[in-house]
């Protein structure tokens, strides 16, 4: 039972189920969202671009959280599903002339179906055998985009992706694009949160904790594992579509194995199986790797003969962060946040 602030009682079922309990919290939330939407008016473009990238990453990590955090199926294929989503949306907009807002859900759905195919081995194997199966997705999907239908997918060159446009407003700069990202991010957060506390999410958690017991309780493992893969790949597809239209170019290497590893790492840094985890993790890791770029010049001075010094910072920072979190805070930032909140509420008798 989570600690509640003093004087906070649930007097109705609606209140019991509520995520946000107080009026002023709603005010704060809306103020925060409004501040994000208003970013182009007060922040410079590089900051907006960073927030935009973080937003897209959060969507992908939220999907991974449903699959890995809740259902316990480890996946190294999230970036491959992003590739699938990106390509579907780029083709629908570019070749068939669909509207972006129709192509985005279609890309999510298409990526979800691809995810279903690569989720099939999860019925036979688990643990690191499943990691291998998802790793295969990470090779087969980019290979497919490189080699299949060269006249449509354009081989290793990849595709140029159209700029989304609505009512004459072109989303061709991060300043405008952030509105798109936020408009997708907010419902995806709400859906992820509600899935995790509904019957479906509880079934996922029971599969993670003990799949045999879950099956005995009448949970259809086949259906639920596949559905978790479907959901995760849908989120990845939406994120991939957003990212592709934001970069305006896409090839088989845009989302690669390293990205899949980063997404998993963000999830662990943030906290597995918690709804705040993907948000915390994506923000912290993206900011860290962004900050690591600033160390590049110093490193090049220290190691003048190492030409790769500057690029080396990103994997180094990420790897060290991940290792430190795994050793010292394996439950992630979300858990630390709970501890801080509890300590604040029990002050001055904090003992947690």
């Amino acid at each position: 039972m989570a600690l509640r602030p003093a004087g906070e009682f649930d007097v109705s079922f609606a209140r019991d189920m509520a995520t946000i309990r107080r009026g002023w919290q709603w005010v704060l939330l809306f103020a925060f969202i409004a501040a994000l939407y208003a970013m182009p008016f007060y922040a410079d473009e590089s900051t907006t671009a960073l927030v935009n990238r973080i937003g897209i990453t959060i969507i992908a990590v939220q999907g991974l959280n449903l699959l890995t955090g809740l259902t316990g199926q480890i996946s190294l294929g999230q970036a491959a599903f992003m590739t699938a989503g990106g390509y579907i949306s780029a083709l629908l907009v570019g070749k068939l002339g669909w509207h972006f807002f129709a192509a985005l859900p279609a890309a999510a759905l298409g990526a979800g179906l691809v995810g279903l195919i690569f989720g099939l081995p999860s019925l036979r194997v688990k643990g690191f055998y499943l990691v291998m199966a998802t790793l295969a997705a990470q090779f087969i999907i980019p290979w497919f985009t490189r080699n299949a239908f060269p006249e449509v997918l354009n081989g290793t060159q990849g595709l140029n992706v159209a700029v989304p446009e609505i009512f004459g407003l072109k989303f061709n700069k991060p300043d405008q694009y952030i509105w798109l990202t936020l408009t997708v991010l907010i419902p995806s957060t709400i859906i992820a949160h509600n899935v995790s506390r509904s019957r479906l999410g509880r079934a996922f958690v029971s599969i993670r904790d003990n799949d045999l017991a879950a099956e005995l309780l009448g949970i259809n493992l086949f259906k639920h594992k596949l559905f978790a893969f479907f959901l995760a790949a849908m989120y990845a597809g939406a994120a991939g579509s957003l990212e592709a239209h934001s970069l305006r170019h896409l090839n088989s290497e845009t989302f690669n194995l390293v990205d899949s590893i980063f997404l998993l790492g963000m999830l662990v840094v943030g906290g597995l199986g918690s709804n705040l985890g993907p948000i915390f993790g994506s923000i912290v890791v993206e900011l860290l790797t962004d900050a690591s770029a600033m160390f590049g010049p110093f490193v090049v001075e220290l190691f003048p003969d190492a030409a790769g010094g500057a690029q080396a910072m990103r994997p180094l920072f990420f790897g060290v962060t991940l290792i430190l979190f795994l050793i010292f805070e394996p439950r992630g930032l979300a858990h630390r946040w709970q501890i801080i909140k509890a300590a604040w509420r029990l002050r001055p008798f904090s003992h947690t």
């Binding site: 890995t68 055998y129 790793l135 090779f139 087969i140 493992l221 790492g265 795994l326």
Partner: protein, 306 residues
């Protein structure tokens, strides 16, 4: 299919499978003793090859000394990895351990980039690439004899790789430390209660894995050149490990040769779309293995209901 070229590709594929088998052996080594699947193996291999290159070319040491030094250093790296990153993970869930090796792979990749830079290196030739062995087979296809052209460096890499595999399997089978490692992988707690020092065993197996990785890295670098993408080669070894069975050393040999062979055969097809598949054949094999026989060809079948 081009029948004339088939034997050539079969043999080349088999030869290419040798170093891959040695790479896969490093994975099996760690898995057999500590039940950890090491996703950072590729980066160990890369670092080993880079260290050899550095000693031999930058420091201009004789090649044998460079190799010995690199082997010793990689053993130290292996020990350090076990002591500082994986020992705190004892008893943690599988996901944490997998992520730990993934995090390690990023750190090592970053270190390789930082210390050695990302440019293409000329790795010293251990086995001469010139005058290949030419064998004429005694039977005919389309009234022409079959001629096999075997590059010397490929042949000798293969021999060296097989020698390494045989040495390691003998070590596991006939020495008491090897027996202890096999025991430790069976059940950590049980092994400990029988008086095995499992941490020492894990450390030793990681040191050995580092050395095996370095030797595989040297062999691969002599035949295909050395740059940062060398670490990707290991991704081709994952399917080998699963095909052979994750804790089986004979499985590694058979799996490595089978995967090399399949790639060799696929690359002889006339149809372009089949030949395009050469690079993903290992993963297609992997998916089939996972769906049909997850324990691999020679692995132990665990009775586990999913």
């Amino acid at each position: 299919m081009n029948w004339q070229l088939l034997p050539q590709f079969v043999i080349s594929g088999l030869l290419a499978g040798g170093p891959i088998a040695l790479t896969a052996l490093g994975l099996v080594l760690v898995f057999k003793s500590s039940y950890i699947f090491n996703f950072a193996h590729g980066q160990l291999l890369l670092l080993g090859a880079l260290m050899t290159w550095w000693f031999a070319v930058e420091r201009e040491l004789p090649l044998w000394l460079a190799i010995v030094l690199a082997l010793a250093l990689s053993a130290v790296i292996g020990l350090a990895i076990e002591r500082f990153t994986l020992r705190p993970m004892t008893g943690q869930p599988l996901l944490s351990i997998i992520l730990m090796t993934l995090g390690l792979s990023q750190v090592l990749q970053g270190l390789a980039l930082l210390l050695f830079g990302g440019s293409q290196r000329n790795f010293p030739q251990i086995f001469s690439a010139a005058d290949p062995y030419i064998i004429t087979l005694p039977w005919l296809i389309d009234d022409r004899p079959i001629i096999l052209i075997l590059k010397q460096n490929l042949v000798w890499s293969f021999v060296a790789a097989m020698l390494g595999v045989i040495l390691i399997s003998a070590f596991f089978r006939f020495t008491s430390i090897g027996l202890a490692m096999r025991g430790a992988s069976e059940d950590h707690e049980l092994a400990q209660s029988l008086g095995l020092r499992i941490h020492r065993i894990f450390g030793l197996s990681w040191a050995m894995a580092g050395m095996v990785a370095t030797s595989a890295g040297i062999l691969l670098a002599t035949s295909s050149g050395l740059d940062l993408s060398l670490s990707v080669v290991v991704l081709a070894a994952f399917p080998v490990v699963l095909l052979g069975g994750i804790e089986s050393i004979p499985g590694v040999i058979v799996g490595g040769l089978l995967i090399g062979l399949t790639q060799g055969v696929v690359s002889t097809f006339k149809a372009q779309w089949v030949r395009d598949m050469t690079e993903i054949v290992p993963y297609l094999v992997l998916l089939v293995v996972l769906l049909i026989r997850p324990e691999g060809l020679f692995g132990q079948k665990r009775i586990e209901r999913i």
